[in-house]
Symmetry: C2
DNA sequence: ATGATTTTCTACCGATCAGTATAAAACCGT
DNA sequence: ACGGTTTTATACTGATCGGTAGAAAATCAT
């Protein structure tokens, strides 16, 4: 997971993984089948542990605004966890590459779309709960914050510090009223 | 340029380039030296033609706010130019990869930093011109909008449409007053 | 048109890629 | 201790990587 996170799907060879895990390549293939499946299991592990996006933080908060604030703050923090490579695995590991790995990229695109859908659903609930104006466009607002989350991954890779990311989050949250049409 | 743009640095082989240009590999090497230099020349061509960020649009506008609005709108449009791959070359072509290509990634990181610096410089000028509050933090504001620009590249790659990107830009601009401390 | 120069084509280099055949070694219940 | 099973280490496959040697072909000045 850490190697895929640091170098991406195509930047990580099965030999690298075999060496890092101190396990022979045949054992690796016996356990995971092939490189793509191994990557998908690493992605699953990522989402279950260090994942930069937490649906729980989104749903547990009492209002949509608080939920988004908490989600973005956690996101900014997890993107610079000193124990792991900077930036979000899902955003960075496979955005471009060879045609033969298109399926891996499509899988990560679907994960990013899932994040967008989670954000939009929380806004829809906020409208139902009455803490978001009825005229708000959940898809549009969700896409804006998803864009910020994606952009944070690049910033983190470029060497941004925690204070930098926190300021970005604060700026994004400042747009809330205008975005939801308050 | 189009191949590197579509597939990234490591996702594009010299054989692919040789075939696409209908030029033998030895001719390619005679003209460009090696793959890395060829990539840097493709990047130069990108910045001179389709580049998603235009310093001119930033400096020609009368106020910083208008400059940022124009810059972001042009950016959102160029990221979905139907004649070229979606998303910004500089953001997408090499964000992760093998250690041996670290220098290529560092080069693109420097280009992204240059964009950030351009944005900050325009804000500093805005303060001098009096159209931006004196208390504004140019670096912080510039980093926020750079993050949005980076995030747009991912959105474009994920299949966003022009209206989607335009809404993101509108949302980002809505945060202006709060960001500059008006 | 000719001799010299440049360009291009074919074929190759060693290294590395994802993936595997084979056989030794470790483990297991009995 | 033993036969049967699983795991592991070595060594390999064909394909592709970035890059190049050497010969053929096209170009050029005269």
């Amino acid at each position: 997971m850490l190697l895929f996170w640091e170098r991406g799907y195509e930047g990580t060879s099965v030999g690298d993984l075999s060496e890092a895990l101190d396990i022979g390549k045949p054992s690796l293939y016996a356990a995971f089948g092939n490189k793509e499946n191994l990557f998908l299991e690493a992605l699953q592990l990522y989402e279950n542990t260090y994942g930069c996006f937490s649906p729980n933080a989104l749903n547990d908060a009492p209002t949509a605004r608080i939920a988004f604030a908490e989600t973005l703050r956690r996101n900014a923090e997890s993107q610079l966890n000193p124990d792991t490579p900077p930036g979000c695995f899902i955003v960075l590991a496979a955005t471009v590459g060879t045609p033969q790995n298109a399926e891996v990229r499509a899988h990560l695109t679907r994960r990013r779309q899932a994040t967008r859908d989670h954000l939009a659903a929380r806004l829809t609930r906020g409208i139902a709960d009455g803490d978001v104006p009825a005229g708000a466009d959940p898809q549009a607002v969700a896409t804006f914050y998803a864009t910020v989350i994606n952009g944070l991954a690049i910033e983190a890779r470029d060497g941004a510090r925690q204070a930098d990311l926190d300021r970005i989050v604060t700026g994004a949250l400042a747009a809330w009223d205008s975005l939801v049409g308050a």
